[in-house]
Amino acid sequence: MSLSDLLILLPQAFLLVWASLLLLVDLFISKERKVITAILGAAGLAITLGLTSGQWGSRATGFNQMVVVDNFSVFLSGLFTLAGLVAIVIAYDNMRRTGIHKTEFYSLLLFSVAGMMLMSAAADLIIVFLALELLSIPLYILAGLAVPRAGSAEGAIKYFLLGAFASGFVLYGTALIFGATQGTSLAGIMASIQSGTAELPLLVIGAALLLVGFSFKVAAVPFHMWTPDVYQGAPSPVTGFMSIGAKAAGFAALIRVFSLAFPSLAGQFAPIFAVLAGLTMVVGNVAAVSQVSIKRMLAYSSIAHAGYILMALVPLADPSVAANSTASALTYLVVYGITTLGAWAVISAVENADGGDTSVRDLSGLARQHPWLAAAMTFFMLSFTGIPPLAGFWGKFYLFRTAIEGGYTTLAIIGLLSSLVSAWYYLRVIVMMYFRESEAGASRAPSIQIAAILLALAVLVLGLFPSGLFQLALQALANGVS
């Protein structure tokens, strides 16, 4: 290890050190001043964001080619840190109001963000595994943060058991790939496949096991069973963070591994990805229709959105479409991230002080009491549905376009039809907020309102000027992936 190695991982290393120090410093902050811990946590993320964006445009590998910093990792690291920042803003108000203000939240969140950033910079399957654990273990604890509230521990243990189960698959897949190619570095695996020295059956089984493990992480059908329970049981701000952070990290690993290490296998895996994507879109959207709890509804909706993104991984074998389709996946991750964080911010504001479950009905009449929150939520729901001119429309547009360019028109049609189904449950939320008489209470904390409004504005602006984000996503792929 040399100094240049450390410089490559400076953002991640800084964030880990900061999170560890925050755990200590927090002990000396009195109970009435815990806002300082939140601010320090946010400051750590902001500095990390600055450090990581300074790496844009460069490409370097370190630690014996185990990590790589390129635009792809910087792009996703930016997404993770921003998601962490929003999560802190939402969580501070929500956790105080529901009486679960445990300040370990901030350190754990920082650890998890560091794991996600490491995941996006992984160039070796062992780093992928370690990053997966570094991001997951804090999330297991965060999901259980509301103990002794009934559902929290239950959701946490389900998340833990299935998460560890998925890690087992990733690890065993890694071991088999190590056996097939005598190495675990993504570049080495590719070289070994190209030179024909790889043991193909072992390699394919290993890659399939990796796919199963990551499908758990991104909640693709049929590996999605844990999602509704965990999303419902975990505190809302944690769920909001999880719904974008863990998913984007899973996709980061999938894109890296399947477009860098196994480009020659992409053709064989295309049908599998296509089936996964189709199933995930249909099952997620159909199951969401009948949900009473809004947290469960958004859980199924997050499954459906994972399906849309999986669609981008299908045409990876076709070099003329691969760059565009990966860029559309990145674009969709950003768009989905903004929208989902916004939706969870509103839910965090509406949630009862006892932290009990929030049903769609609990939003009724929100427009009268809290017009700004309701307006923001309307933007998020319309963006989820994919109604122009909001960001969600363009996200889906790019995805469907590349699917058609790659020759998967059927998949695009399935996506379109299942989006139509999704309109039913997203619009129901808007109807509840505007056309039902009831007294929906919500937090009046300015922080959470401002966060929701800013995110809604972002959804609108990205919808009006979508090409900038897509160009940025293309640049993110320019000096590393594909």
Partner: protein, 102 residues
């Protein structure tokens, strides 16, 4: 010294992994599920060590240490969760954890 064929290790680890995976799916006691998870992790470890030995490089053996550390951290969190659940419900049967539903 090495007279045991490679395939023996692979078959043993595949069996261990399958047993572990089946155990996680069918057993209802979280503690037993933990043990099954460990079985899955150790199946991977065995594969790493066996291949590492066959290739004559130490990489795979180093990875096993990483995996052990991660598994220990994971178990610490898992056991803490079980204790938290046992305190509130006095039972850790997974089938009784069904308060989360629509």
């Amino acid at each position: 010294m090495n007279t045991i064929p490679m395939s023996y290790y692979l078959v043993l680890s595949a069996v261990m992994f399958t047993l572990g995976a089946i155990g996680v799916i069918i057993r209802r006691n979280p503690l037993v599920m933990f043990m099954s998870l460990e079985l899955m992790f150790n199946a991977a470890n065995l594969t790493f060590v066996a291949f590492s030995n066959a290739f004559g490089n130490a990489n795979g053996q180093i990875f096993v240490f990483f995996v052990m550390v991660v598994a220990a951290a994971e178990v610490a969190v898992g056991l803490a969760l079980i204790v938290a659940i046992f305190r509130t419900r006095h039972s850790i049967d997974i089938d009784l954890m069904n308060t989360l539903k629509n």
